[in-house]
Subunit: 136 residues, 2 copies
Amino acid sequence: MNKKNKSLSKNQKLVLDFIQGNKKPVKAYSILSNVQKKGINAPPQVYRALDKLIEMGKIHKIESQNSFVACSTSDCETPHAIAFSICNNCDEVSEINDSKLFKYLLDFRDSNGVKFAGYNLEFFGICKSCEQIQKV
Amino acid sequence: MNKKNKSLSKNQKLVLDFIQGNKKPVKAYSILSNVQKKGINAPPQVYRALDKLIEMGKIHKIESQNSFVACSTSDCETPHAIAFSICNNCDEVSEINDSKLFKYLLDFRDSNGVKFAGYNLEFFGICKSCEQIQKV
DNA sequence: AGCATAGTGTTATATTATAACATAAAATAT
DNA sequence: ATATTTTATGTTATAATATAACACTATGCT
């Protein structure tokens, strides 16, 4: 058991369950329509849960897509230091877990010598399966 | 004169002029209301110009803010390889121009050995002036 | 028990972005 | 120089994303 694992509220659980049930990132209104049978009725309820889950590091927001995906590490240490690869062809998103990269970025200082508290990094390219298809 | 400097259309010029006239990133509807006296009437006209300007590397989109800012290098070589710092306190955004960082990221390969065509990187933290204020 | 904090439910509305269609201007090829 | 293609424009309507504001409820402290 992890100290950081604050117990989730009802709506937070519902939203997280749905996100975790999807390999691909999901959109807020898709979450909404899928949890409506379970008692969530309106956008603010979804967005509030999303905000908290992001804070807790349970999920991440893919900024360039306005979509949300479960964190691939069981308990994210650095909710605001995260990297994704996004396929320009099929929109597949995967989380990049490369400790060297993370260290490089968290240690990075700007020209004023200022370190940053976090970052969001999205790589774009063609994923392996799309590349295969193009070759055929 | 630069070969890459395709001449801009009327709407593209209007939109770019307004963005360049602002130190801070601007929002699409703020652009719209500011160019309305100059003959642009509706959102699609703004968004179309924005799309083209991004393609050309004249401007960048700050994904986490849905805002747009002029590229700080006169003629951006890598429109989709860009880094910003964003102040969590005052929302100030500045473009980070660090060739080492750029090279590191463009050379980065994921666990499959796949290189990426581009990336978007946003650092978050407290900017220098906000830090000063907090100390006082 | 009393209080503070966090979460819920709801309505309405703000903000961001695109679809779809008709037309016009510009660039390129023959 | 004109036909063709590509790019841009103008317009209306609407889709998609996100938050404000308010009343109320549950939970965790001390």
